[in-house]
């Protein structure tokens, strides 16, 4: 079983996000960068499937030089090799261009299964994985919480609004992860040492057959006109009162008579 995991480096969810002077990008210097949490789940699932089925796990990430750290983290968790697409021409690509580049990289790799996160917690685009599947002409199953393999087919339990469904597809296929699928392992110290010797290929987009004039910030279909902070709420109003019953009465009164919500 040849498994490819798509991983993205994103700001730690604790990070303070500030708007840069240009008004359309964020300040990146003080951010701590980590693997997208959903992609950690994807790496973990790949390792478990590989260990049950044999085969190998390749991690693919597109991003600037520091994105190599995220690939190393996946290798330290136990992935076998990495592909880092590092090309200034690709920087600022929108989800479709990103997916086109990733799909081009995948066409050069053997794969039976592709695992991705269902969203990256930076721009929250929820798009790259589906677009990769489309460009490769393979089925996708999103928000998976359990997988089973049998006879060259994959069976995924996926979350839907109001329940779960079990979806089956022949390989090759792509699925995206949801919390509940597994608990990602931490990279162990021996794992980190071993990761240093694992192969990591670095590619430019031209090497993948992608014309730089079709991707990157200048060719975005989604153009950022402005970034803003969310609208501020008015300062909290604390409900006063002695006993719980008094506070409750006051709270409900405000919700009923002033806010007119209940």
């Amino acid at each position: 079983m040849e498994i490819v995991v798509l991983v993205k480096q994103v700001p730690d969810t604790e990070s303070l996000i500030e708007i840069a002077d240009d008004g359309v990008s964020i300040k990146t210097q003080d951010i701590k960068w980590v693997m997208n949490p959903y992609d950690e789940i994807a790496v973990e699932e790949a390792l478990q499937i590989r260990d049950a089925q044999s085969g190998s796990v390749t991690v693919v990430s597109m991003g600037p030089a520091k994105a190599a750290e995220t690939i190393r983290t996946a290798l330290a968790m136990g992935a076998d090799k990495g592909v880092h697409i590092n090309d200034p021409a690709a920087e600022g690509s929108d989800p479709l261009a990103t997916a086109r580049i990733l799909a081009a990289a995948l066409k050069e790799l053997p794969f039976d299964l592709i695992i991705a996160g269902h969203r990256a917690v930076d721009e929250d685009n929820y798009q790259v994985a589906s677009a990769v599947a489309e460009f490769l002409g393979i089925p996708q199953i999103s928000m998976v919480i359990k997988t089973e393999m049998a006879d060259g087919r994959i069976r995924c339990h996926r979350t839907i609004d109001g329940g779960t469904v079990v979806v089956e597809a022949a390989l090759p296929a792509l699925f995206t992860t949801q919390r509940g699928l597994n608990e990602p392992r931490y990279a162990s110290l021996p794992g980190i040492m071993k990761a240093k010797k694992k192969p990591m290929a670095v590619k430019t987009i031209a090497e993948l057959g992608i014309d730089p004039a079709t991707v990157g910030a200048a060719n975005r279909k989604i153009r950022v006109a402005a970034l803003n902070f969310p609208p501020q709420r008015e300062a909290v109003r604390m409900v006063e009162g002695e006993a719980a019953a008094d506070k409750a009465a006051e709270l409900v009164k405000v919700l009923h008579e002033e806010a007119k919500i209940i």
Partner: protein, 321 residues
């Protein structure tokens, strides 16, 4: 020339998701600003009678794609059928709801049609014939105003944010021939929540419990029931196994935008706020006056949730009878 607004509605087992009405209403507003028309599409099996329910929100045309192969949602069948319909209608804008299904379908469709897509938008403005969509990013720490380049713009709207408005027009219903095409996935089992449980992302009122509940959700459930709302949870609660993953609100859970969000025994971690900060009105009940949740709330009560929440339930019952 591409023109018109094309709305993809969502139904399950013969009932529309609420966001479908929000999407048709929003499509009508956008189409009126652009001086164009609205085509709404209903996909499913045996759904012809549903079309009528959409008319009051103002579409000019409703297309019913009815086929046994569309009974359950699969990405392949739905995107194949929609791609054909979009090709024949040639709209300038596609609108749909950012439900689990809507996100999956819209992303695949955007790639198929090579169209720009703005996901999970909380507002759409039209000026000089161009759309500007507002979308939260970085877990709601930033709101981006984005514009979509190209002939076709796909806008996927966050459920429970946009207003439902009635604005009936002269409306025709058509039942085009449907080509399901190649389907590489099969639904082999379904496990649908039974009963009258309100879907978290659609609920007008959400009452959530955190670690402060110690796992005892009875008082949370009673308040939710009294308010006619849904129950949510913080990740700590889900990690403890006290509630299912499907109840988790936050950056790695569901994003909810109810009219009223009541956070009980939740500290207000940034990752939790990511899932509820677009709620219209936030109430926090916490025994720690310094809890960060208070700085994000409209109304706060300091107290033990096991005293305060049941008392609130009693007061609500007095009003609601």
């Amino acid at each position: 020339m591409a023109q018109g607004v094309f709305v993809v509605t969502e139904q399950r087992d013969g009932a529309f998701r609420k966001v479908s009405f929000e999407a048709v209403s929003e499509a009508r507003r956008i189409a009126d600003s652009l001086g164009t028309d609205v085509t709404a599409v209903v996909l499913g099996s045996g759904v012809e009678d549903l079309a009528g329910e959409l008319e009051k929100y103002g579409p000019d045309k409703i297309l019913v794609a009815d086929d046994a192969a569309l009974a359950d949602y699969t990405t392949d069948a739905y995107s194949n059928v929609l791609a054909d319909l979009v090709a024949s209608v040639d709209p300038a804008v596609i609108l749909m709801g950012a439900t689990i299904q809507g996100k999956d379908l819209s992303a695949r469709l955007a790639a198929r049609l090579d169209a720009g897509l703005a996901m999970d938008c909380t507002a759409v403005k039209v000026s000089d014939g161009k759309l500007t969509c507002t979308r939260p990013m970085f877990g709601g720490k930033i709101f981006a105003d984005v514009q979509i380049e190209g002939e076709l713009q796909i806008v996927v709207i966050r459920p429970n944010v946009m207003e439902i408005s009635e604005n009936a027009k002269q409306c025709v219903v058509e039942k085009p021939a449907v080509q399901v095409g190649e389907v590489k996935t099969a639904i082999v089992d379904k496990n649908i929540d039974t009963g009258d449980k309100i879907e978290l992302t659609e609920a007008d009122i959400v009452v959530s419990g955190g670690r402060g509940t110690g796992g005892d959700f009875a008082v949370i459930e009673q308040l939710a029931a009294a308010l006619g709302g849904a129950v949510g949870a913080s990740r700590s609660v889900v990690d403890e196994g006290w509630r299912p993953h499907s109840d988790q609100v936050g950056q790695t859970g569901k994003v909810v935008s109810p009219v009223l969000y009541v956070a009980c025994g939740i500290s207000g971690a940034i990752q939790h706020l990511a899932g509820m900060s677009t709620s219209k009105y936030i109430v926090a009940i916490n025994k720690d006056p310094e809890a960060p949740i208070f700085s994000k709330a409209d109304l706060g009560v300091v107290g033990d949730l096991f005293d305060v929440v049941p008392a609130v339930t009693e007061e609500v019952k007095k009003i609601r009878g």
